[in-house]
Amino acid sequence: MRDIRLLDAPFDPNAAIDALAMASPDIGGIASFVGKVRLTGGVEALELTHYEPLTLPGMHELADRAFGRFDLIGLLMVHRVGVMRPGEPIVCVSAAALHRRDALGAVDFCMDHLKSAAWFWKREKRAGQWHWIEPREQDHADLARW
């Protein structure tokens, strides 16, 4: 199973992960990461802009690489776009595999590459004002691990 989606409305990560588990009954383990909009730091809203012709193909190429690199039975990659409120899920990556190392490795790999593969521009609303978030050095360091 392979479930790659961009959503412009809130979603339930558990329902998505359960669907992956149901569709991949023959697994040893399932690893997941769910990223949420933080409640701290005074962020009132977060907006993710994407460019449709690049984003979804980028996520599919990343999924191809994950399937090539790890021994996976199923992979789920769901990403929000649009305006999100604190506490809402932004991203859910979940991998089902016979072996734990593959499942955890694939989630880590996809999370590290998702931002660069899928072209998201992010801005935060603080005290009523929107602020663009600049590229970070840490992300380059994360990519250099692979």
Binding site: Y51, W121, K122, I133, R136
Partner: protein, 86 residues
């Protein structure tokens, strides 16, 4: 008609998310487009786009050499600033 899409911060600089141009003189190359941005969209936009970190996609394909761009009628050009961290 040629469509130009502004992503991220470039949409703020442009004051809009996209523009459409009809080129009376046929194809548009990279210098043509930079001139159009300053003359017909907003002054300073061309400078923002000249930032070497801004990538260019033509019909959904990111160009390895944006200087070599040639846009024809019906094409869509996307101007892509660096993606956000965090």
């Amino acid at each position: 008609m040629i469509r130009i899409v502004y992503l991220g911060k470039l949409a703020d600089v442009a004051g809009k998310s996209e523009s459409q141009f009809v080129s009376s003189s046929g194809d548009l190359d990279w210098p043509d487009i930079l001139a159009l941005l300053d003359d017909h969209v907003r002054e300073g936009l061309a400078d923002a786009v000249r930032d070497e970190r801004v990538k260019v996609a033509l019909n959904g394909q990111v160009l390895s050499d944006r200087e070599g761009l040639v846009a024809r009628d019906g094409d869509e050009i996307a101007l892509l600033p660096p993606v956000s961290g965090g």
